[in-house]
Symmetry: C2
Subunit: 220 residues, 2 copies
Amino acid sequence: MMKTLGVLGGMGPAATLAFLARVQALTPATGDEDHIRVIADINPQVPNRHSQPEAAGRTLGEMAARLRDAGAEVLAMPCNTAHAHAGAIRAAGLPFIDMVVETARVAKAGGARRVGVLATPGGEALYATALEAEGVEMVRLSAADRDRFMAVVFGVKAGDVGAAQRSAMRDLAAALVSAGAEGVIGGCTEAPLLLDGDDVAVPLTDSAEVLARACVGMCL
Amino acid sequence: MMKTLGVLGGMGPAATLAFLARVQALTPATGDEDHIRVIADINPQVPNRHSQPEAAGRTLGEMAARLRDAGAEVLAMPCNTAHAHAGAIRAAGLPFIDMVVETARVAKAGGARRVGVLATPGGEALYATALEAEGVEMVRLSAADRDRFMAVVFGVKAGDVGAAQRSAMRDLAAALVSAGAEGVIGGCTEAPLLLDGDDVAVPLTDSAEVLARACVGMCL
């Protein structure tokens, strides 16, 4: 029996659509009716996850409850950083697939002992915990590269997915490899809009792909 | 004050994502928060609009009411054929942007006196009424071309947007032009997945584009 997936989206909007397209691509289908029902709240006005964490948690909790009331049976959120508010989302009482925990597991299963993480500061903090739980060492971006990463992410949110942006994201991944990473996690849902597995010298674990796969596994 | 858009989607799922991407592309934005909030019920299990019209109407009415209860303030549905059930959707009491009526208006405004329509049989019947209201003559696909059109649409729903499919859709548009159409309406949300304006010798009015533009106009 298929389950209806509720998606807390909009962080950002383009990343949410890329995630939903991945869910569809990963679903074996010969017609409309083979696909999972998805109720997506694409809310680009979720308060800033860095500067207004309490307000963000409140809004995400409300979104989760509304998705439940609209018929969702499983929840997912294609934004790593916002997983700091997983507790507020779980309060709605539905199973919530934790993107960060799942991604750390998949990266570990790939065999890397040291994994580099492309993430916002908030996302990186979550991956530090999740990777530690897996017994995997985390390789962080340098402070200067972190600033570059955030500039690239906000460029994507402004609609720029051009060649300079792609090149910058590739360089950031390469810096993690130079620092000893045997695997790289695309730990921000904007990352896969700019970076493919072919762009990185070591295995790339894309958090959006991992979450999409987990959603299909749970809902189909 | 921005309005929250509720989308009755899933007919088909890929067409819904293409529509949502268009809404985003048509929104002037320099960051997440400039985008419209969209609650999309991507429901690929809406009963068949041709063979089970009563059940389809009931389901669409329920989806509209749930979107309203989840916070939607304006409703839209990126599926022309399902507009046969506009009444059931309007019963939720929210403004519903009628894709067929809007598209007929835009095609008329383009100056064509005879407009060809790429649509399912159900969609074509709705366009016949909408174009007549605009005083525009409709050019229909032949029975054989209609069968070809439906085969192409179901190919898209099965995931095939390849070159042969594109070529077939281009030929169908050309057949309408040969039959006297001075403009062509892409009156099925699967059509733009295969057909661009450059593929047609006369102006192409894409119903998904028209609806996306109307949604941005109404919600922004």
